[in-house]
């Protein structure tokens, strides 16, 4: 479904991605692991069009995403839930969700509201509250819910567990799993390697802009390198 090949991305003079390649098949849940600054977020931003690659290709089925702007990429069903939630603080919960469905026709979004509210009943209680007044966990639910409102074929999730209490982290990961089982393909970026690998089929490990390891999640969990670097020995 998604095939990234030989991707080079720069921030000014900084060479952030040095020719990485990876792929995600339809229906899969794939994780990108890596320390801070490894290039995980850069990879997602390049897929969703916020960054332009210097070289390399990003193919979604027959579409060449590296030539499109972010507003066009969303319309192809690639939806990016950014790091740090980035909900609109001066929109209510409802307005945030509606913004998520911006690229779609208004008549067809009714049932998606229902779907998001079943997934996150908390959001329904807070529907009229400003986004900026929500707790961190609620903001994360809203960010994922807003992403779902775009009816994604491929959902890019950047650090959904960041800054959340352990109980909430488990809940979020269970939800991600559930969304995947509904047929949404997911590319997940995480620092919480143990959690991420436990729900993923495959994973890639990034280090300073290159893929150093890839394989089935079950193999990665037992690999010495991943254990030492990300799972605390």
């Amino acid at each position: 479904m998604l095939r990234v090949e030989g991707l080079h991305v720069y921030y000014g003079a900084i060479h952030a991605l040095k020719g990485i390649s990876f792929s995600v098949a339809e229906g899969e849940l794939v994780t990108l692991l890596g320390a801070n600054g490894a290039g995980k977020t850069t990879a997602l931003k390049t897929i969703s069009g916020l960054l332009r690659p210097r070289a390399g290709t990003v193919a979604l089925e027959e579409h060449a995403l590296e030539e499109l702007g972010p507003h066009e990429i969303v319309r192809l069903g690639v939806v990016h839930v950014p790091e740090g939630r980035k909900i609109f603080p001066r929109f209510t919960v409802l307005e945030n969700l509606k913004a998520g469905a911006y690229a779609r026709r208004a008549s067809s979004i009714r049932e998606d509201f229902d779907f998001v509210f079943t997934l996150f009943p908390r959001l329904k209680e807070r529907a009229r509250q400003m986004g900026g007044t929500l707790s961190g966990g609620e903001q994360q639910m809203l960010a994922i819910g807003r992403g779902l409102m775009a009816k994604p074929k491929l959902l890019l999730l950047d650090e959904p567990s960041m800054g959340l209490a352990p109980l909430l982290v488990e809940q979020i990961f269970a939800t991600i799993r559930a969304i995947n089982q509904q047929g949404v393909t997911i590319l997940l970026v995480e620092q919480n390697a143990a959690m991420a690998l436990s729900i993923s089929e495959r994973g890639y490990v990034l280090e300073t802009g290159t893929v150093i390891l890839e394989g089935k999640a079950s193999d990665l969990v037992t690999s010495d390198r991943v254990r030492q670097a990300y799972l605390g020995g």
Partner: protein
């Protein structure tokens, strides 16, 4: 004190008219600041373009003998739409040529570009008018109905001109309110103002929304230009500087980036100015005359900003980070 009371309604009316004028211009500064965090210092010339479009349409109608023949309401509508359309388009062109290429540059760079664009537009209007009419000081032909007054009781008379400014400004503000708060593009404008990158991830075409914001802000300025011309009659290419500066002040006073703030700031500044112009001399027994009105207005501005640096309705315009 009798005199002070007697002129009160008149002064109030002047202040309200001025206030709406500032409010309409201030919207252009504040909306553009909202989406780009940048002050479009050439907005005062966008306003002047509206004033010149108005006078040109009227002069052409006069020359062709249609000024007296057509219904005044029709003429006013044509005038406003022409002024709004051309000012709006000029603002869009300005963004495209002078600001968009500098989007990633340090903040000072587009600001300097804006000041340059401001000078360029002043002299461009002067150049065109000098070629075309041999002068760049133009006078609005009078429209009879606008010169009339309506009396309310014995003491109070209201010029039709003032009613026109107030009614038009109210209609514009209502339309803008509905556009920004009740439509899909309005949602997009508000989303871009909060976080452009995330807005793009929602499928919003950010550059198009920025251009649209320039168009809407520019057309509000254009409408203000036409109203300014109709109300004060005289226009020249440099006439935008002072109203532009005051409207910018009004936008800061209300809280830059905040749309209701721009209207409130414009009104506060307009009223202060009108009251200072009429009452300073009465209250100080002639020690300070009307010429101190701007000093007074700006002293109040400075005081408000000392105690509320973000303006009356100001809030943090864009959230950074998490």
């Amino acid at each position: 004190m009798d005199l002070a009371l007697a002129i009160f309604p008149q002064v109030l009316m002047d202040g309200v008219v001025l206030g709406f004028m500032y409010a309409l211009i201030a919207l252009g500064y504040t909306m553009v600041y909202g989406v780009l965090e940048f002050i479009n210092f050439a907005h005062s010339e966008i306003f002047v373009i509206g004033a010149f479009v108005g006078v040109e349409v009227l002069l052409l109608l006069e020359a062709s003998g249609n000024l007296a023949a057509l219904h005044p309401a029709f003429i006013l509508v044509v005038l406003l739409f022409a002024g709004m359309a051309l000012s709006g388009l000029a603002a869009v062109g300005l963004e495209r040529v002078a600001y968009r290429p500098l989007r990633g540059a340090p903040r000072l760079v587009p600001l300097i570009s804006a000041i340059g664009a401001s000078f360029f537009l002043q002299d461009f209007i002067r150049f065109i008018e000098s070629l075309w009419r041999n002068t760049f000081y133009l006078t609005y032909p009078s429209i009879d109905v606008l010169e009339k007054t309506i009396s309310l009781g014995e003491a109070v008379t209201i010029p039709v001109k003032s009613i026109l400014v107030i009614a038009t400004a109210l209609a514009m503000l209502l339309a803008l309110y509905l556009l920004v708060n009740r439509t899909k593009v309005g949602t997009a404008i508000r989303a871009v103002a909060q976080d452009p990158d995330t807005a793009a991830l929602m499928g919003i075409h950010v550059n198009r929304i920025i251009a649209l914001t320039f168009f809407v802000g520019g057309s509000m300025g254009g409408a203000a230009g036409v109203l300014f011309g109709l109300h004060y009659s005289l226009v020249n290419p440099y006439a935008g500087f002072i109203p532009g500066l005051k409207a910018f002040t009004a936008a800061v006073l209300g809280g830059i980036g905040n749309i209701p703030g721009a209207v409130l700031g414009g009104m506060v500044l307009g009223l202060m100015e009108a009251f200072a112009a009429s009452y300073l001399s009465i209250l100080t027994s002639g020690a300070f005359g009307a010429e101190y009105k701007d000093v007074f207005a700006f002293v109040v501005l400075i005081l408000i900003l000392i105690f509320r640096p973000k303006g009356i309705l100001g809030e943090k315009v864009r959230e950074e980070g998490v």
